[in-house]
């Protein structure tokens, strides 16, 4: 049978009308609101509290913990999906991983259900369980705090916790990889368990620590997989129970089939397409019992599932429509979970899904065309569903894949306006070969999460280890190692001030000095986190679904995978290149401005008429990345090369190299808001460009832009990039489709690694921003993943709107009409924090003795004098603990020492919790668990008592600096919030 037998590869006869189940499930997916599921947090906490054996190795402990949870995980059938299993107990659920950042939810426990932006439902009962039983257990135990204990030089940690230099991904996850399901499908989990048991037996018989360690690992693999089997058995039992009770014969039959599938897989080999697809889904659910739901990517499903599809089709057991329905069911299942996001993080990650990436098409391990019927079935499912997750990616080899394929992918992009993204096989395969991967393995690459590359099931690339803000070292280079946002504080090495420099080359050296220093700090911190992960978060379950660990007898976290690396991605690439271009061309080559003059204008954010004139000149006359100007090309290439060389010079704790990448999720918006003015005429607070994309408006010609980006592709970008293109939709879709595909092919031949699209106009996005209700399902490409426009924060909406829009019938950028004036960001609820508290307190006043200092409190809220406010807050808290037993329950068994200081040193307050009491002191104390230094009263208010409590935001704006265990701050925030919510009701 030929690989392509479909009479119409677009499968036009199959629609949501002909597939009512998919239509119904799709409607449900849009109607559902996220809810937080505490099941996992509950069971892993109970396991560690009550069952854990101190003598277990980290791998065995993790396996038992995971099995304990999976055995108890609810078996839910939320809807008529044909696949059994769900990531959480909720229809659309956010699982909690207390090992990472779940405790950031603490201050929001009572408000997360109601918050304005992307609320996540949490019942009062669950909130209480988290508050009293679960979160307190993790105070000292999450990855970040475990790392803090090990780190002697806190420089890197401080940089991370100020959030504007780099983000250390491992504090929140590793995940980001593509497992291999081949063995699971062929042998069943039982087969893998038997293999592990065999190895374990051999190792136990051999002598030595090394062999014992391996034996324990093999044992752990088996234990973890038993958990997945137990979950499948529970699902089967539940389906049987529901089938027995079901009145509708169709439903009864469906449930019986679901039960039969779960009785078979994933324990035993899959026999049919349906069993195979459900087995993969059950393993994906199992993996998420162990690893957080962040870019855990199923990989090349059109290749993996094709043998099952073909066999069933040939045997007449499966129709194309039924296969399409099953694929659609899997897509919808992959979208059944979201990440728990605290409110302030919405600024950085707002609207993101969990980005499980599917990879289609491309070439096989022999380098030949791998596109098959199932590729087109999966493209059709993607086209029909138009949902945020999974993140579907199309590999394209311009010499091997037929034009019909690239045209079909282009057509799906045109129809969905956003997906899939296009990946260049020739260059990406070569990039992985450059990393030492065997050619046949590199050819079998799949996309992780946003854009990162991995040989399917062989590569453990921890691709989100470092997210580095390139604007930070640029600012530091302009200010002798300091940043405007953190004032006079010396951060990086003391480098010469711009006025002392004699050439652009000297400035380039200064920039590299700051950059390399920052990279060194980020890598150092990542290594510490890696060590913590080895102790705390091994992945025996995931290891069982990889090539390497079984052979090496080592967990993924100990380098068990065939290939190992750590990924570092970069924010602000285009803006930094343009800034370098401006400095080189306009300061040194043309002498239009002095470096000192430029620095001064930057420090003043181009204020005044003269400043604005200078800004315009810089904006309009800087050689821009995204054009073919030789200076711009040189600086872009130099920066890419330099980053490549620096990272490749570092080896990680698993023995792999660091790989640079260029994707930004939504960080470029959040970090842009916090970055000062830049030399290419960017004012402070403006958006940064996304991924590897040129700055909006800087690249007026489509081909020049594509050439300039493609010029950077290849071995020096092993982590790949996200390149965002926006095209004007056109009436003649067929002509557009062909030009679209031809343009992608040319860009790929020139070396481009990846490109993704939004087919939208400025006007349409502006309308969607003004009238979100008109566009409830509008899906956009962010930077490596898709999101619903309505879920994005203000900054990201503006970023999407202002991206350069090109028209394929002219090859030119459409002039940007500008953003409407938004005005200042309104306080939530339309009132200031002070107003809110005053109102609450005035009600309180009616019921409290007249001699209480409420009037003073009111006065201090008006003036926002930090000292008085803090004193009153702490006294009020102390008092409430004394008189209110329910509130006191918060601190039973809690010992914690807090120190609050103002930046000028004038205010010092301490709170000591011990034996169910709280003591307030106006003095320094020793051994504080956390020290909070705040800029002024207003910032402290924002931190502790804002209706929109914003601990992360406060840190991000550098309003507040913390030293010590952040969980104490979250816990304090939770208590302050409770107090605040109690007040009007006292």
């Amino acid at each position: 049978m030929a690989r392509i037998t479909l009479p119409d590869i677009a499968l036009r006869e199959h629609t949501l009308e002909s597939l009512p189940r998919l239509r119904e499930l799709r409607e449900l997916s849009f109607a559902r609101r996220p809810a937080i599921c505490i099941e996992r947090a509950r069971h892993v906490t109970r396991y560690l509290k009550d069952v854990d054996q101190a003598t277990d190795t980290p791998e065995v402990r993790q396996a038992k913990k995971v099995r304990y949870f999976l055995e108890r995980k609810s078996a839910c059938f939320h809807d008529r999906n044909l696949l059994a299993g769900s990531t959480t107990s909720k229809e659309l659920g956010a699982p909690l991983f207390p090992e990472y950042f779940a405790l950031t939810l603490w201050p929001e426990l009572l408000t997360v259900s109601e918050r304005k932006k992307n609320p996540q439902k949490l019942s009062l009962e669950d909130a209480r369980e988290l508050n009293f039983d679960i979160f307190p257990f993790w105070m000292e135990r999450n990855v970040l705090e475990q790392a803090r204990k090990r780190i002697s030089d806190p420089t890197g940690l401080n940089l991370f916790e100020s959030l504007v230099f780099f983000i250390a991904g491992k504090a929140g996850c590793i995940s980001h990889c593509v497992p291999s399901y081949v063995a699971m499908l062929e042998k069943g989990l039982d087969g893998i368990i038997a293999e592990a048991a065999g190895h374990e037996k051999e190792c136990r018989q051999a002598a030595g620590d090394e062999e014992r360690r391996k034996a324990d690992f093999y044992q752990a693999m088996g234990i973890a997989l038993e958990g997945v089997k137990a979950y499948a058995a529970n699902l089967a039992a539940e389906a049987e129970r529901l089938a027995a009770r079901a009145g509708d014969p169709t439903r009864k039959n469906e449930l019986a089939e679901l039960a039969a599938v779960c009785r078979r897989v994933p324990a035993q080999p899959a026999r049919t397409f349906r069993e195979a697809i459900n087995a993969i889904w059950l393993c994906q659910v199992g993996i998420h019992a162990e690893n957080i739901n962040m870019a855990m990517s199923p990989g090349r499903l059109d290749q993996l599932l094709y043998p099952y599809y073909r066999r069933d089709i040939e045997a007449g057991q499966l129709t194309v429509a039924a296969a399409l329905e099953l694929v659609g069911c899997l897509w919808l299942k992959l979208a059944d979970n979201v990440a728990m996001v605290p409110e302030a993080s919405e600024e950085l990650f707002g609207g993101a899904g969990t980005v499980p990436a599917i990879t289609l098409g491309g070439v096989d391990t022999q380098g030949e065309d791998a596109v098959n019927d199932l590729t087109y079935v999966m493209l059709r499912a993607t086209e029909l569903l138009q949902i945020r997750d999974p993140n579907v990616n199309a590999r394209y080899h311009y010499e091997k894949n037929p034009p019909a394929y690239s045209q079909r992918v282009a057509e799906v992009i045109i129809n969905t306006r956003a997906v899939p993204a296009f990946f260049n096989d020739a260059v990406n395969i070569d990039a992985l070969v450059g990393q030492g991967e065997a050619l046949e393995h590199a050819r079998d690459y799949a996309v992780i999460g946003c854009v990162e590359l991995a040989s399917n099931g062989r590569d453990y690339p921890a691709s989100s280890s470092i997210i580095l803000n390139l604007v930070a070292p640029l600012e530091m280079a302009l200010h002798g190692g300091r940043r405007l946002i953190s004032g006079d504080h010396q951060i990086g090495p003391r480098t010469p001030e711009p006025a002392q420099l004699k050439s652009f080359e000297q400035f380039w050296e200064v920039f590299k000095t700051q950059l390399d220093w920052l990279i060194g700090q980020a890598i150092d911190l990542n290594e510490h986190f890696g060590a913590v992960h080895q102790e705390m978060m091994p992945s025996p379950l995931l290891s069982a679904l990889f090539e390497g660990p079984m052979q090496k007898g080592a967990d993924l976290i100990r380098g068990g995978a065939r290939y190992n690396s750590s990924g570092a991605t970069h924010i602000g690439f285009a803006d930094v290149v343009d800034s370098l271009n401006a400095i080189e061309q306009l300061v040194w080559t043309e002498g239009k401005f002095s470096f000192a003059g430029l620095r001064e204008a930057l420090d003043n954010d181009f204020a005044g008429d003269a400043g604005e004139k200078m800004r315009l000149f810089l904006k309009n006359h800087t050689p821009r990345y995204g054009t073919e100007h030789p200076v711009a090309r040189k600086n872009a290439k130099n920066l890419i090369r330099h980053l490549f060389e620096v990272y490749q010079g570092h080896t990680n704790y698993r023995g792999g190299r660091y790989r640079p990448a260029y994707w930004t999720m939504t960080n470029h918006a959040g970090l842009g808001a916090l970055a000062g003015a830049m030399p290419h005429g960017r004012k402070s607070g403006e958006l940064l460009a996304s991924g590897i994309t040129p700055v909006s408006g800087a690249a007026p010609e489509l081909t020049a832009c594509l050439n300039a980006v493609a010029d950077l592709g290849g071995r020096e970008v092993p982590g790949c990039w996200a390149f965002n293109m926006k095209y004007t939709p056109e009436a003649d879709q067929e002509a557009m489709r062909d030009r679209f595909a031809q343009t992608v092919a040319a860009y790929f031949r020139a070396g481009g690694q990846q490109v993704q699209f939004n087919l939208m106009t400025y006007a349409m996005l502006l309308d969607a921003k003004a009238h979100p209700d008109k566009y409830p399902e509008l899906m956009v490409r962010v930077s490596g993943y898709s999101a619903y426009f309505k879920d994005l924060n203000e900054m990201m909406r503006n970023e999407l709107i202002s991206r350069s829009q090109y028209t394929l019938s002219t090859g030119a950028a459409v002039p940007f009409p500008g953003l409407p004036a938004d005005g200042k960001k309104a306080e939530p609820g339309g009132q200031t924090i002070g107003d809110w508290l005053r109102k609450a307190l005035s009600r309180l006043l009616l019921f409290t003795p007249a001699n209480r200092p409420w009037r003073d409190f009111d006065k201090c809220l008006k003036s926002e004098v930090a000292e008085e406010f803090l004193q009153l807050l702490l006294r009020l808290m102390e008092l409430t603990f004394a008189v209110n037993p329910a509130f006191r329950k918060n601190i039973e068994g809690f010992a914690g020492r807090y120190l609050f200081k103002s930046a000028d040193g004038e205010v010092t307050m301490a709170a000591i919790f011990k034996d169910g009491t709280m003591e307030v002191r106006e003095a320094l104390i020793d051994n504080a668990d956390i020290t909070v230094t705040f800029r002024n009263g207003r910032t402290l208010l924002n931190l502790i008592l804002s209706p929109r409590q914003d601990i992360l935001g406060s840190m991000l704006r550098q309003d507040v600096k913390t030293e010590g265990n952040l969980n104490y701050l979250y816990r304090f925030g939770a208590m302050a919030k409770q107090l605040q919510l109690m007040m009007p009701r006292i």
Binding site: K613, L616, F617, N620, T703, A746, R749, T810, G811
Partner: protein, 300 residues
């Protein structure tokens, strides 16, 4: 002729021949059609275009102008066109890109290099290069050299011409290096042609006749449909008959679009009388299409 005066280079052009193309707009044209899409390319010398909405009124251009042709009045610059030599020195210091020189001198090498940057786009789409204008045959020596250079690189070549050229020179310099010739016809009546376009049409029609003999396959006759000028019943009927009698195989109609009206003002040129401000509608287009057995539509 080592240098050619080029008004602009349009990359990723998809309406000027097959595939994705680069269109080179030569500066200078012997005609001056009132509806010209590219009025900034009519004059055969560099000019300065001015975009008043961008002007800050800073006056940096005043000092840069060697002719004293710029003044600042009421917070915005003004160019005295009679004094302006088109040197473009005023554009360099302008922070806001309110001044732009139209017309750059290029060598064959520099143009070839620029055109080859998009070679991959031509290859994946079956595209190439189109010489347009202005009128490329006004700089026939340079155009011929450029075409031979492009042919040397194996590129597909096309030209868009008003047809007013010396046949001998065209045949000698350009014809052999051209794959496709877009040949424009506007008005059938020689007197009207003379009156509106500044030149009669005898040479043009004669050239088309010769061209059809030399390259019957490679010629597309184009008629711009301009309300009140060309898109008039008598004219279209006569042109249709003429083309039929000459055996023209490919005819293309260019629906009217008011592109040129706003562009003319930027270089201080008056735009045509009585031209509509809106593009031609499809219904009207189909009326004119009926005069031809088969006509392609371009540019819509």
């Amino acid at each position: 002729m080592n240098r050619g005066l080029v008004g602009d280079i349009g990359r990723y052009a998809v309406h000027d021949g097959p595939g994705i193309r680069t269109t080179v707009f030569f500066k200078g044209c012997p005609l001056h059609c009132p509806w010209c899409h590219n009025p900034e390319f009519i004059a055969g010398k560099p000019e300065v275009a001015f975009y008043p909405e961008r002007c800050l009124g800073c006056g940096d251009c005043v000092a840069a102008c060697p002719e004293g042709a710029i003044t600042v009045q009421g917070g915005a610059a003004r160019i005295l066109r009679s004094r302006c030599s088109g040197c473009g020195l005023c554009a360099a210091p302008c922070p806001a890109l309110a001044l732009k020189r139209t017309g750059q001198w290029h060598t064959v090498e520099s143009l070839t290099e620029l055109i080859l940057r998009d070679r991959l786009f031509y290859e994946t789409s079956g595209g190439g290069v189109t010489l347009s204008g202005g009128e490329p045959t006004q700089q026939l020596g340079f155009a011929g050299q450029l075409l031979r250079s492009l042919k040397g690189h194996g590129l597909h070549t096309a030209i868009q011409t008003c047809g007013l050229f010396s046949w001998e020179a065209f045949a000698e310099q350009a014809l052999a290096s051209l794959d496709l010739i877009f040949f424009d016809l506007k008005l059938f009546d020689p007197a009207a042609h003379e009156r509106w376009l500044g030149h009669g049409n005898a040479t043009i029609i004669g050239n088309l006749r010769r061209l059809l003999r030399a390259r019957p396959e490679g010629v597309v006759a184009r008629i711009p449909l301009v309300p009140g000028y060309t898109a008039v019943e008598n004219n279209i009927a006569a042109l249709a008959e003429l083309l039929r009698s000459m055996g023209v195989r490919r005819v293309a109609l260019l629906p009217y679009h008011p592109w040129g009206l706003s562009k003319a003002g930027k270089i201080g040129r008056k735009s045509g009388n009585g031209l509509p401000g809106k593009p031609m509608r499809l219904e009207e287009l189909s009326v004119w299409q009926r005069y031809f057995d088969q006509a392609e539509l371009l540019g819509c």
